[in-house]
């Protein structure tokens, strides 16, 4: 497009503004509207209308997918624990808090909460510790009114480290809760 009359810019701005009002998030970059130019050629209004509808649908689909990806990412975000502890750390509460409205907005979601431990201590103890961690996460989330039955608890013990090695950093990364959507993961939306 080589010509950008002021009217086009105004329409673009209006479109952006309108879309910004209806969503709480950054809107995707809008594609420019096709502009009707008075020319000598006969305008193909039917074809242009169909293209416009298709492009609008495509934009909407992309927007929904982007939203769903955000929801998935927020739900999948891991929480980390202190050594031998299963209590939710204060600096981890935000991670869990962010999941609550998403679980409310998508009532069909089932989440598998996996508890993990670092490799120190016995395999036996780390299995029990993992259960406690996963339970603590479930209890925290259901404290917001989310039905506890929407969560499945799995204890992974020390057998799936995120990071190999015997450093304190690796240990800290391995003491975690992981989240996996096991049902209701289609058409995820951020708000009702």
């Amino acid at each position: 497009m080589t010509r950008k009359p002021v009217s086009t810019v105004f329409m673009l701005t209006a479109a952006v503004a309108l879309s910004a009002c209806s969503r709480k998030t950054e809107p995707p970059a809008p594609t420019p509207e096709p502009v009707q130019q008075p020319t000598a050629t006969r305008p193909d209004t039917a074809g242009q209308g169909a293209r416009a509808a298709a492009e609008a649908a495509e934009r909407e689909r992309a927007a929904r997918e982007a939203e769903a990806a955000e929801v998935r990412a927020a739900l999948a975000e891991m929480v980390f624990f202190d050594y031998d502890q299963s209590s939710i750390r204060s600096d981890q509460q935000d991670v869990l808090n962010r999941k609550v409205p998403l679980l409310r907005a998508n009532p069909a979601i089932r989440l598998r909460i996996e508890g993990h431990a670092d490799e120190r201590g016995s395999v036996e103890y780390n299995l029990a510790l993992s259960v406690r961690r996963a339970n603590a996460i479930r209890d925290y989330l259901s404290g917001f009114g989310i039905d506890a039955n929407r969560f499945d608890i799995v204890a992974m013990g020390e057998e799936r480290p995120l990071e190999a090695g015997a450093s304190e950093d690796a240990y800290a990364r391995n003491r975690r809760g992981e989240f996996h959507i096991t049902a209701g993961g289609d058409n995820l939306t951020k708000a009702r």
Binding site: G121, S122, V123, E124, Y125, L127, V131, N135, A155
Partner: protein, 448 residues
Amino acid sequence: MKVKPFRALAALALLVVAQSAAAQDTTRVPTGVELRGTYSVLKRPIISVRPIAGTAEVAEAVTAILQRDMEYSDRFEVVATPSSLASGPVDYRQWNSLNLVYLITGELSQSGNGYRLSLTLHDVPFGTAKQTAAFNIPAPSASDFRMAVHAVADEAVRWMTGKPGSAASRVAFVRRRDSRHELVIADSDGENVRTIASGSDKFYTPTWSPDGRKIAYGTRLPSGRVAVVERDLASGSTRTISDRSVISYAPAYSPDGRRLLFSYAIGNGTEIYQYDLQRNCCMQRITKGPGADVGPSFSPDGARIAFHSDRLGRNHIWIAPSDGSGDATLLTPISQSAEFHSPDWSPTGSEVVFYGQSRGGYQIMVANVSRPGNAEQLTNSGSNESPSWAPDGQHIVYDGVGSGRRGLYVIDKETRRIRPLITGSSAERFEMADWSPLLMTATQLQAN
């Protein structure tokens, strides 16, 4: 808790202080744990196993097994037979000049499909045969050939020391290679390594039944739960004991074989539950209270269990009645710097072996049940975990790092001698070993 109230308060106060510290101090030997530097070896009788007479290959195989079992018993100083004394009538005077106390001789003759092994124990200073007996053993091609010779060796050890050896036994363990697990059994001398279960299943905490015919263990199901399963070793058939909880694992059979205790996640904790093996039902809670109660191990009389629990905030070894009828008492020393895991009650009844933090690593420790708050550290280098007693109550198998190679090792509590049982590549772990009861005894083989 039976710990007196003041002591309990003091203990709790100590632990509260310890937990509020930013990092644990595990660089020292913990308070209450005694570390002996060098262990002076008691004077052990010098013995020799003379080459068994009879059909060459079979006799050589029998001799080799007997000689190695005598060494592995750690009860004797075993010397090789000089070639001049290798056959013919026993020359007590010559043997006496070598300071020998006992000499073992034997003869192998064919009998049916197998062999008849007659064994004689000679008291060298006394200059006479002291004991003799004959045993039926299968041919070397039979699957229980080695075990039968081990049983004869155990009997010879009993002749000499009053207590049988542990050779006729096996060790079950989990071999982990990356994320692949296998349930494996090896003979007590490291031979006959057999995988009894493998695949994408994960296996945990195998334990032998008192009759040696079954192994119970934890296994991860496709659903993600960990269940207790019992496998019959002869038929390979399995049955599920408990699969209702997120985790059921760390099983232990009562000595009479009637009950199976294991850890079971329930509510927000993990408690020890009991399953009735005779009625195949009827779960009953054995431990209660905060914390995770894990890994029960029965006393030989079946009346008590040892287990580890973090009910005080840090893992310690506890003793409780095995029927849940009373409170648990603390066995391990209260210390700012240590936690303790994975107890196994000795067949002698008086000791419990476990492992704990010491000087930055994990070490094998033993406590006397009648003297809680004290422990003796057996290993002193590398990092060593998951101990299990041999039937003789003197040897312990554990997962450790010997001279650099990770694997299963056996330590003798008296002499502190360590031998490798199974070692592998650096990518393999051998874990959660459990030593079987005696699987065969000489009385089963006695011939006339």
